[in-house]
Symmetry: none
DNA sequence: TTTTTTCTCCTCGTATACCATGATTTTTTC
DNA sequence: GAAAAAATCATGGTATACGAGGAGAAAAAA
């Protein structure tokens, strides 16, 4: 691995700045042969004909979904190492990426050293996670909040509340009693451990439950 | 401007990748002397002692608000040209940045050519906007909701409310009367045209004002 | 079919959000 | 230094959210 043959690295990102940044960070290390792509489909075509050792893949692309793309890449070229790069720091997304065959995950705020370390790790067959990603994964309690499971009715009501509707209005439009609405409300607060509905809606919105 | 003296450019961004990318893009053009910063306060300190021609400023920073930072920079060094760089493509934010003294605005998906063009434009005293930014500005019709501008106090209070705090608690911790807090609350609702605080917090959360 | 979950309804009391209107002082801007 | 904007405090009233605790019927899961 560390002999004379250079390591082929493909960068996939639709931001020219990031692409350029990664390129210059990696070029400083000499051992890499770098290819870059701004489109998801382009990398798929490329690996059809060529062999790539490591692919650094942006999760958010304009023309494709990084998660699905990872899967496709792994199908076409199982030996290629795929490392995700993203601003997305959400547990569930990281896990889904790894489930789809990803060999590692790096946040965009990582520095040069960390990126190189991760690539080295991945080349040795290990799971390559940046420091922050490791923290996110290993602490389900702190940074990421365990989202409670909601019933259909609760979702319905939560949605209505988030749209600014009062309990009375909601009761009216769902043909149930105001009292019932308030019970659901209460249960929702307990489930989310929120101090009040405002905090609850904030949590739900942040976690895209609405 | 185009003679032998190099142009001093400061890059402010908390993502090492972006920083590195910009640096290498600009270095290819030779005429620039580049300084880079990952902290907002650092650039403020720096311009106290040194003269900078152009500052490329990320709007989203970990330790500071790009909008306020732009204002501070312009106060300390009015002759410096400040160009905003961001993923944020919202009209209102762009306008606010320009109102705060910004000389231009570029989206992060801009390519090398565009960035150089914008810097050149700004050096000539013109407003430097990337293509996409121009489109956003010239199309007020789009679905994007005009975000109201909030005062410092309003932001503070909105944030506290979103954290589930009651008016009484907020009044206590800010050393003001409950009545005042409720006035701000009322004004916030009017500004956002929200039916109640719950809806307001949802809107604010969705638009990342918190 | 039994058990569990979900949805529904109930009471009572307190807290506070919400609405309309107005006014003074401080700070910022021109 | 004048004008505008922001922050502060005030009154008074209505509506409703919030919190605790209990309970029966319907639907889903075992």
């Amino acid at each position: 691995m560390y002999n004379n043959t250079p390591i082929n690295i493909a960068l996939v990102d639709d931001h020219p700045m990031i692409l350029e940044g990664l390129k210059s960070l990696l070029q400083q290390h000499g051992r890499f042969q770098i290819f870059s792509f701004t489109k998801g489909v382009a990398i798929l075509d490329f690996i059809q004909e060529n062999t790539i050792d490591v692919i650094l893949l942006d999760i958010v692309l304009s023309d494709a979904n990084g998660l699905d793309l990872c899967k496709s890449i792994k199908q076409k070229s199982p030996s290629s190492i795929v490392i995700g790069i993203s601003n997305q720091a959400e547990r569930s997304i990281i896990f889904r990426f790894l489930e789809n065959g990803g060999n590692g995950y790096i946040l965009k705020n990582a520095d040069a050293q960390e990126i190189i370390q991760c690539i080295d790790k991945a080349l040795l067959g290990e799971l390559a996670l940046s420091k922050e990603v490791q923290e996110i994964i290993s602490s389900p309690s702190t940074s990421t909040f365990e989202l409670p499971r909601l019933t259909k009715r609760e979702q319905q009501i939560l949605q209505a509340i988030a749209h600014g509707q009062t309990s009375a209005k909601i009761a009216e439009s769902l043909f149930i009693s105001v009292i019932t609405v308030e019970t659901h409300r209460r249960n929702l607060m307990q489930k989310f451990k929120a101090k009040n509905m405002i905090e609850l809606v904030k949590i739900a919105t942040e976690n895209k439950l609405l």
